[in-house]
Each structure stands twice: as structure tokens, then as C-alpha cells.
């Protein structure tokens, strides 16, 4: 008999295949939202566009708010309101962070997009993805706890000259709502997290310049990427 940690419980509607189906839907939605964003756009209009796109795909309900963060607002931590009226520049950075509920199952996906040719921004977007995968490899390589995984991620960020925002440090995902089971961060979990039940978030902040980059996806084996 395999013992399940209480923080890894699921609801009655939990379905592995459905969780993966939602993952595909939300990752595609992130890319499609980003494809509609243009320099000169005001952030509030991008958020409204994202909400509409998700609603058209049957994802009216979101377990967390829809975030499209432009420019300096990319430094804001999860839940913090954006400064109003930020317009995407010709050389700029933005990220999409969505947490839709599709039917009974939760999804969560985020990624960063760069317009123009700012080398720091391009490197930041790439480093967020790289650190996500390095941390995920560490999770596959040894039975590290959530806390150890984020210590590893913070070291990786520092080595590349970034600050890892530990206010955005992973969480559960399940049939809706996972918050009824566990609403805390993965970075405070002292056991080895299981596949398909957790989201790994990487939010990097530039040490001097006012921008950040973000990537998140489920903790899954290599075959899913």
C-alpha cells in the first residue's frame, strides 16, 4: 500500500487524463493570448482580451485571476495589482499567467514573451524556462523536497545574475478547488512532491532593471515536454 501525504489528496472528480487535457488547453491558450498582444497595447486591454479568449474556449471560471503583465508590472508578485495604464513598448517584455478551470479540473500555465531585441529581457525569458527544467530535472534525479527544489532554483537564478521571487513558489493543482486541500507554496513542502499534482513556478527579477520574467508548468516527467 502506498501512503499518500495529506497535502497530496485529490477530490472525487480527479482524473489524470483530464488534468493532462487541461494542461494542453491552457498552454495553448497562453501562446494564443501572447500572439494577440502588440506594442502600443494597454495592459488592461490585454487582460480583457485574455479573459474573452479563455471564455470562448469554455474556461470562464479561473481559480486565480487572469494576469497579462506588461513592462514594469512584470516585477509584481502574484496577486499584487498592476500599475494602471502600462503600455507595451516596441522593446519590452510581458508575461501571461493563467489558472483556468475547465469543466471540473484546474489548469495553470505561464510564460514570458519579449518584443524587440533587448538582450537582458531575452536572456531572462530563456533563463526562466531553463531554470524550470533544471529544477524539474533535479526533482527527477533525487527525492528532493519542495523546499530543497526551491533552494536549488534560487541558486540557479543567482548563478545567472537573477533574484528568484519566492513569493511565487509553486502550489498544488487538482480537480477544482485544490485550495480546499492545500493552499500553501511548494517551497514550504518538506517531502518529495509527486508527479501531476504540483505546479513549479519560476519568477526571476532583474537585479537592477525594473522587469521580471516568469515560467510555470506542472511537475512532470521528460516525456511530457
Amino acid at each position: 500500500m502506498t501512503l499518500i501525504h495529506p497535502l497530496e489528496n485529490v477530490g472525487t472528480a480527479f482524473d489524470r487524463d483530464k488534468m493532462l487535457e487541461v494542461r494542453t488547453l491552457v498552454r495553448q491558450a497562453v501562446d494564443d493570448i501572447a500572439a494577440n498582444v502588440r506594442p502600443g497595447m494597454v495592459e488592461e486591454d490585454a487582460v480583457a482580451m485574455a479573459r474573452t479568449l479563455l471564455a470562448e474556449r469554455g474556461m470562464v471560471r479561473n481559480w486565480h485571476d487572469v494576469y497579462v503583465r506588461f513592462g514594469t508590472n512584470t516585477t509584481k508578485t502574484f496577486g499584487a495589482p498592476s500599475d494602471a495604464g502600462v503600455v507595451l513598448g516596441e522593446t519590452d517584455v510581458f508575461f501571461v499567467d493563467i489558472g483556468p478551470v475547465w469543466k471540473k479540473w484546474e489548469g495553470d500555465a505561464g510564460d514570458t514573451f519579449v518584443v524587440g531585441d533587448d538582450p537582458d529581457m531575452r536572456r531572462g525569458a530563456e533563463d526562466a524556462r531553463t531554470i524550470f527544467h533544471l529544477t524539474r530535472q533535479e526533482w527527477l534525479r533525487r527525492p528532493a523536497s519542495g523546499r530543497e527544489l526551491y533552494e536549488f532554483a534560487a541558486r540557479q537564478a543567482a548563478e545567472r545574475g537573477w533574484k528568484l521571487n519566492l513569493d511565487l513558489s509553486g502550489h498544488r493543482l487538482a480537480d477544482f478547488p485544490h485550495a480546499a486541500i492545500h493552499d500553501g507554496p511548494l517551497a514550504e513542502v518538506d517531502f518529495h512532491p509527486s508527479s501531476l499534482l504540483w505546479v513549479l513556478e519560476i519568477h526571476l527579477l532583474h537585479p537592477q532593471r525594473p522587469f521580471g520574467t516568469f515560467f510555470e508548468d506542472m511537475l512532470l516527467e521528460d516525456s511530457f515536454f
Partner: protein, 356 residues
């Protein structure tokens, strides 16, 4: 419309900085190289700070062809613009801004117009009144301005002058702490205006300032005074300089919550707080997974049918979400989106039987 649809970046230079009250500085900015930012009165701009942060301020005067803009900046401890940057700006200092933003601009209207401001929320409304004064406007405009004390009435002389010159313009200062024996109105601006105008069916309303006042006014006027919802004009942004004025819009009231077992709980509440906050503070069994962002639907409640007409209509996002939830009903609302106001005193709500 004078402004273009797309905001642009503009360079300004500080030409005047004056402390006009213990807590407000008036800043005049002139455009660089003659490139002015065209705007419509009621709009705001976003000051771009050297460290990349941004802060929004409304233009306080009617548009002038020389392109000078005037901003009213509240000074408060820890305020990003006011403390770290504003104090370093002096005559000739360069300021970068994006703008203009905002749709809370004058809509031609032949009936009466009520304008409500708290604190530096007076700035965009002063701009609109000045513009009307130049354009031969004739329909009545009643401006209510809420501040703490007489020290905060930094624009009162100007507004009184306008009221003397313009037969259609009426100015009513409302103080939280009026001097003893004075004739000043006391209380909340929205309550004072509501007292003067029992019916607003033929009116339009502008509200600028602290969000808690704006929402309380929207609920009061649309819910109880017959104001059509599309004639309530306010911008969604909340200028950081007005946070401290939040207490000026608070009034006590009660809400009755019926739990899943049918038990009634009478809860004390304040105007300006959300129904969700009141229910959660009383440990009523109700989730709020998204944290009050009208995203998850877990705080859905049923409003007593006889009380439902008192509430303003749900906005498009809330209505879309309510319609997508299981077993929708006409009297459902998201508790996070119901802002309590004196008009909702005694509201009765039914909580869900089952919590997910």
C-alpha cells in the same frame, strides 16, 4: 475627442511646484520642444519614474493650447512618487509620462449633473467644469467635494469664484471634521448628494477619488435613486495618493446571512466593504479561491429576492461567470463584487448549502 486612441510617451519639464495644503502639492508641467499631450478633461497620465515604476495622476485643469498640465499630488509617507521623486523635482526637472488614459470624460447632457470628489479626486472634475465654463454650457452641475478639514479645501476659492460667475454651477464642500459652529456640510459626499437629489432618473453622475466612495456612490445612486447605470461615470484606477481618505466613506450597517442549515446570522458591517469581507470576517462557510477577483465563483450567494433590486447590476465579467456556474439563478451574485453601502443596510443573503 481631443485625445488620440493610443497613449504615447511625452516629455515634460517642471515649471511650478507649490504646496497648496498640508497634504497636497500642485505640480505644473510644460511640454518639451513644443510637443504637447492633447487630452480630454477627466483623463489622466502615467508618470514614468526613473526606477521604472509608474504612477497615475489626473489633469487638473481644462486643456490649454500651450500644453501645460497641472497635477495634484497627495503627499503621504512612503508614497512612491510623492516621497522619493517629487521631493527631488524642482523647476526645470525633466519628467516622462505616458498618456492620456481614461474614459471618464464629459458626456454632453441636458439634464442635471452631479459630481462627487474626495481629496485630490477634485482634479479631473475641476478640469471638466473649467471646460464647460468655456463652452457655453447651461444645464445645472452640482459639485460635492469631500475632505477632512478646512485645511484640505485647497481649491475652494477657485470653485467658489466659478460658482459666482456661472449660474448653472453649484459647489458644496463636505467636511469630515467641520469647525464647531460652521455651516459646512458634514458626512459622506455621496450621502449629502443623495439627500439633495432623491431622484436621479434624469441625471448623470461623475465620481472621482477613493474607490470605496466611488463604489458606495454607484450602489447608492443606481440602487436607490433611479440613476441609470450607464450614466454613472468613474475611472477604475485608484490613484495611490487617495488611499488615506478611505475612512471618509465608512458608515455602519447590518447584513443577515442565512447559512446552509437555515440559521440566520445578523452581522455588523461598514459601507465601503465587500459582502465577502463581512461574511469571511464572521467565519461564515464560504470559499474565496481567487481572493475576490471575480474569477472563481466560489463566493456565489443568493440575494433575498425582495432585496435584489437594491443592488447595481453585475458587470459583464461577473455576469459571464455567474451564467457559467452550475444551477444559475437570477438572484445570484458574487459576494466579492457586492460593495456595501447605506442603500444595502439590512441586506439578506443565503449562503450555499455545500462548500466545494
Amino acid at each position: 475627442m481631443r485625445s488620440s486612441a493610443v497613449a504615447e510617451r511625452f516629455a515634460f519639464r517642471v515649471v511650478e511646484k507649490q504646496k497648496v495644503s498640508p497634504s497636497v502639492v500642485r505640480l505644473a508641467l510644460a511640454p518639451e520642444e513644443g510637443r504637447a499631450m492633447p487630452y480630454d478633461e477627466g483623463q489622466f497620465l502615467s508618470i514614468q519614474l526613473p526606477d521604472g515604476q509608474a504612477r497615475c495622476y489626473s489633469m487638473a485643469r481644462a486643456w490649454d493650447a500651450d500644453g501645460t498640465v497641472e497635477l495634484h499630488v497627495r503627499i503621504h509617507p512612503g508614497g512612491l512618487f510623492s516621497d522619493r521623486t517629487l521631493t527631488k523635482l524642482d523647476h526645470g526637472a525633466a519628467v516622462a509620462a505616458l498618456g492620456p488614459f481614461g474614459g471618464c470624460v464629459w458626456v454632453p447632457w441636458d439634464g442635471p449633473t452631479l459630481m462627487l470628489a474626495v481629496g485630490t479626486g477634485i482634479a479631473p472634475l475641476n478640469a471638466i467644469v473649467e471646460r464647460l465654463a468655456r463652452s457655453g454650457h447651461a444645464a445645472p452641475v452640482h459639485l460635492y467635494w469631500g475632505v477632512r478639514t478646512t485645511d484640505d479645501l485647497y481649491l475652494a476659492d477657485h470653485l467658489r469664484d466659478l460658482a459666482e460667475q456661472l449660474p448653472w454651477f453649484h459647489f458644496v464642500p463636505v467636511l469630515e471634521q467641520p469647525p464647531a459652529g460652521s455651516a459646512y456640510r458634514q458626512g459622506f459626499v455621496q450621502d449629502q448628494a443623495a439627500r439633495d437629489f432623491p431622484s436621479l432618473a434624469d441625471a448623470q453622475v461623475y465620481a472621482c477619488g477613493v474607490p470605496v466612495m466611488v463604489e458606495a456612490a454607484r450602489h447608492l445612486f443606481v440602487g436607490s435613486h433611479g440613476l441609470p447605470a450607464d450614466r454613472f461615470h468613474a475611472d477604475p484606477f485608484s490613484p495611490p495618493q487617495e488611499e488615506e481618505a478611505a475612512t471618509t466613506a465608512v458608515a455602519p450597517l447590518t447584513v443577515t446571512a442565512i447559512d446552509g442549515d437555515g440559521n440566520a446570522h445578523t452581522l455588523a458591517a461598514s459601507s465601503g466593504t465587500s459582502l465577502l469581507a463581512v461574511l469571511r470576517a464572521a467565519h461564515m462557510p464560504l470559499l474565496s479561491v481567487c481572493g475576490g477577483k471575480k474569477s472563481c465563483g466560489t463566493c456565489r450567494v443568493a440575494i433575498a429576492p425582495e432585496h435584489f433590486p437594491r443592488l447595481p447590476k453585475a458587470d459583464a465579467d461577473e455576469a459571464r461567470l455567474l451564467a457559467a456556474l452550475d444551477d444559475p439563478a437570477d438572484n445570484h451574485r458574487l459576494a466579492c463584487q457586492v460593495l456595501l453601502s447605506p442603500a444595502l443596510d439590512g441586506l439578506r443573503v443565503v449562503l450555499p448549502r455545500e462548500i466545494p
